[in-house]
Subunit: 267 residues, 2 copies
């Protein structure tokens, strides 16, 4: 009886904490061991559409699971709503794990969530994830850097904070860097035009949807053909899409076959 | 007795396989669950100086552990030697896990190792790691991208394949991207000069040594002061060092205090 009373008291005394965990590109086994340990001590898990739900099994049975949709697309769950939920749950229940697809910091808005929590003096911890910008091409056999082939990597989002085409893409297209564009599927046509204007219509290019997941799709070609191949492969915006431009794409196992075909067809 | 003979026979029949595992930036808990699972089925683990040795405990007791030094600095273990060891062990012992610091593909030379294994028709699997280029700044409270502050990320190595200053750094310094330089500590002075020549002496900058590890060190300042702060903080080349240039550094919790000081001192 005494023990039960003590445990009731404990419940009243909550130590709020928010742990941001990057779940990685999609394959649930690509989460870090540290991320799993955080989930195992969660009182609440707040997760979004990019997260594989099997990861929720790491959390204790009694932990509350809160789904917050697709933060960049779902009007029901704006970033402000997610921020508020995170802090509310932490203050009332204790340890909140905010489980996010990706790495947290490359267009992941992780800093915004940490900043908001800090403004309520809630302790925060950061557990980064594997970035899709690097790992998704790598898993497909396209190393984003490779000695003598590609000596740097420029990662951009398709749009700027006003939702317009990211103006830095033009500079990136003009550089020798491997260019990886996230959140840019709807800008593919505009980006292809930029490369063509720069005389780079024969630059190797690839588009990958649902990288590291079972329903992964890939289109490989050159700037001049990539939109056609994307259509052939039925790649769409349902699930994360990543664009890659640069010599690194030549290292994909199918590229030389594609190049032969293009040469026969006089592309 | 019969069982023992069968097991001897099994030993003779080896299925060679090489799994490349990115161990992440340094903290051993930042390895992926998939990386741990690979280690648990390893017959041989080949690891280098950037890997925390506690990770070797995931491998079976009877697995062979092979240390190959610092591949970029140690003459006893050139990349060619590591490649050869990997294939030799796989052909003779079965499942080789090649455990590498970092993510595998950002100056990690992962592709070279896969290519070499493939040339011997050895099956390979890739398990990417968390990239230090993104996670190390993030863990320090410097998000490599942040809405309205930094809209892209350019990752470069300090030197090109000839060991000279990477010529792309000048372009990167001239861009609006957050610039992260890996393997560039010895080029810090040259890189600072490039920024100064571009009139960017007041651009925020940071240098981090041993990111995510217990002996982590950080220097925060602006281009004009960063070399001085690096010296004050006794940052050296013993352990991985990463340079960051860009507005993203202003988001570090100490930056505003540093800025006030610089303004008082008329920097």
């Amino acid at each position: 009886m005494e023990r039960q009373q003590y445990s009731e008291l404990q419940k009243l005394y909550v130590e709020p904490k928010i742990t941001l965990v990057g779940a990685g590109p999609g394959d649930p086994d690509l989460i870090s061991v540290k991320g799993v340990k955080a989930l195992q001590t969660a009182d609440v898990v707040i997760y979004d559409a990019l997260v594989d739900e099997t990861l929720l099994n790491y959390a204790p049975k009694e932990a509350t699971r809160v789904y917050v949709g697709n933060p960049s697309g779902d009007e029901n769950f704006s970033q402000a709503t997610v921020n508020r939920l995170m802090v509310d749950y932490a203050l009332n229940f204790g340890h909140v794990v905010r489980l996010k697809g990706g790495d947290l910091f490359v267009f992941g808005r992780g800093y915004e969530e940490v900043e908001f929590a800090a403004s309520y003096s809630v302790e925060t911890e950061i557990i980064p994830g594997i970035s899709s910008a690097i790992s998704v091409p790598g898993l497909q056999g396209i190393p984003v850097t490779h000695k003598g082939n590609s000596e740097s990597l420029w990662i951009l989002s398709g749009t700027d904070s006003d939702g317009l085409l990211n103006s830095e893409i033009k500079e990136a297209a003009d550089s020798k860097a491997t260019v990886v564009v996230l959140l840019g599927f709807e800008q593919l046509n505009e980006i292809v035009s930029i490369y063509k204007k720069l005389g780079k219509g024969r630059l190797p290019a690839a588009v990958i949807q649902n990288g590291s997941m079972k329903n992964e799709k890939i289109a490989i070609g050159i700037v001049n053909t990539i939109e056609e191949v994307v259509e052939e492969q039925s790649i769409d915006n349902a699930g994360p899409v990543l664009l890659i431009f640069g010599q690194a794409v030549t290292l994909h196992k199918d590229f030389s076959r594609i190049l032969n075909f293009l040469e026969q067809e006089n592309y």
